[in-house]
């Protein structure tokens, strides 16, 4: 059995025809070629595959691609504006939040959603909201630091009336 539907990813609509059993993560990576969405555990534990569905973080490995029909998906490829990094990407870079960076797309998308809803979370709230993303390199502190750098960058962008987020 195949199903056909429109997948809206990073503002671009693509007609997809696929088996309904295939996950959103597999279709994003294999059919759309957007391999920035990483697959770690593939059963909802590690958070590497996190994408935004209508702005909210979801596990793309625990979502069927067909369930995304009619929704707006954002992947890590949708964050930067050309060569200009998204403030969250820039902040993670500055705070050494990347090591092997396998987990980074998931962390950054979770962070983008968190800061869109709560522009000034406490360290505790950051830990709570990112608790569904696993990192095996950094020990987390530099990632949490990166979120705090992003908070300051976004606040000063907002204050100066600029900003690209």
């Amino acid at each position: 059995m195949t199903v056909s539907f429109t997948l809206n990813v990073n503002g671009a609509a693509t007609e997809v025809s696929t088996e309904p059993r295939r996950t959103l993560s597999d279709v994003i990576r294999e059919d759309l070629g957007l391999t920035g969405t990483h697959l770690g555990c593939e059963h909802g534990v590690c958070g590497a595959c996190t994408v935004l569905l209508d702005g909210a973080p979801v596990r793309s490995c625990l979502t069927l691609a067909v369930q995304a029909d009619g929704h707006e998906i954002t992947t890590v490829e949708g964050l930067a504006n050309g060569d200009e990094l998204h403030p969250v990407q820039q902040a993670m870079h500055e705070a050494h939040g990347f090591q092997c960076a396998f987990c980074s797309p998931g962390f950054m998308l979770s962070t983008v959603a968190l800061l869109a809803e709560n522009p000034n979370p406490s360290r505790h709230e950051i830990r709570e909201e990112l608790s569904g993303n696993l990192c095996r390199c950094t020990g987390y502190h530099t990632i949490l630091d990166g979120v705090e750098v992003a908070i300051r960058a976004l606040a000063s962008d907002g204050a100066s009336g600029g900003g690209d987020a």
Partner: protein
């Protein structure tokens, strides 16, 4: 993990969904958020020939208050429930359980009704339903019925739902005046399934007039300890009463052992959580003596 093949159905109405379920019965599984079903399918623990995606069925996404309480529709996600003022005031146990349910991304997709229909005995929502005395509304082509929480959870991942029924709604009864509630648990890692957890409530009019102790992670279903609840009735809500209750819990509960914890350790935790949960519940109504 890659899901096994299945025929996919996307009904627009509840009527269409129950007709599909009437045709396919136990060859079908109902998909809402998929946060329990998709891992089970990936692990080949279930292998339905038909998946009926109710995600587009109109009328199942509401949290509504009635004089008799508050109801949660089949498509209400954990995140929606977490942010609902109606649930915070009318079914506080649901609200209190949310920080323990998975993680943000899981709560954004997973539904309250889905967790209850999945009936994992270590999950929070089934135990909350038993503590709150909720009713599950099951709809099939044969009609609609309400199943009380005490009758709903029949075994490990097993419920009283028939193969052609959809859990469309959970109704939480109105809280009696003077009722305090709490959800407490111990997990190895925050967001993991609990080693043991407790959803509890106390109703107090100078002394305790009603109590509910509903444990999760302590058996093959969520467990109500009626005898211990009876011990609390007529007592003042104070440390001595809660200590007695905790001791009674330790001697009556029979958790099983697994790689994460021995039966003895879980029994010990159940007592700790009894003391902690009842103290919190009493403090939420300001009656801690």
């Amino acid at each position: 993990m890659k899901n096994p093949p299945f025929e996919y159905h996307q009904p627009d109405t509840l009527e269409d969904a129950i007709q599909l379920l009437a045709v396919y019965g136990d060859e079908a599984k109902v998909l809402a958020g998929g946060q329990s079903l998709l891992p089970l399918m990936g692990l080949r623990l279930v292998r339905p020939s038909h998946v009926i995606d109710i995600g587009r069925v109109a009328g199942l996404g509401a949290i509504s208050t009635e004089s008799s309480g508050v109801s949660v529709g089949a498509l209400v996600s954990h995140s929606m429930a977490e942010r609902s003022e109606k649930l915070r005031t009318n079914a506080p146990l649901v609200h209190q359980a949310m920080p323990y349910v998975g993680h943000r991304a899981i709560r954004n997709r997973g539904t309250v009704c889905g967790s209850v229909a999945h009936a994992d005995p270590a999950a929070e929502m089934p135990a909350v339903c038993r503590a709150a005395g909720a009713s599950m509304i099951a709809v099939s082509s044969r009609g609609e019925r309400a199943i009380e929480a005490d009758e709903f959870f029949v075994g490990y991942l097993q419920t009283a739902l028939d193969v052609d029924e959809i859990l469309t709604e959970i109704r939480f009864p109105a809280l009696a005046e003077g009722t305090g509630t709490a959800v407490v648990e111990v997990a190895r890692r925050h967001g993991d399934y609990a080693l043991v957890g407790l959803a509890c409530s106390l109703t107090v009019e100078s002394t305790i007039t009603a109590a509910a102790l509903s444990f999760f992670g302590a058996g093959s279903t969520p467990i109500r300890l009626g005898e211990v609840e009876q011990l609390l009735i007529g007592e003042e809500p104070n440390e001595a009463a809660f200590t007695t209750a905790a001791a009674a819990v330790r001697s009556s509960i029979e958790p099983s052992a697994d790689v994460h914890g021995s039966a003895n350790y879980r029994r010990y935790l159940a007592g700790v959580l009894t003391q902690r949960g009842l103290t919190q519940a009493a403090s939420t109504v300001g009656v801690l003596a």
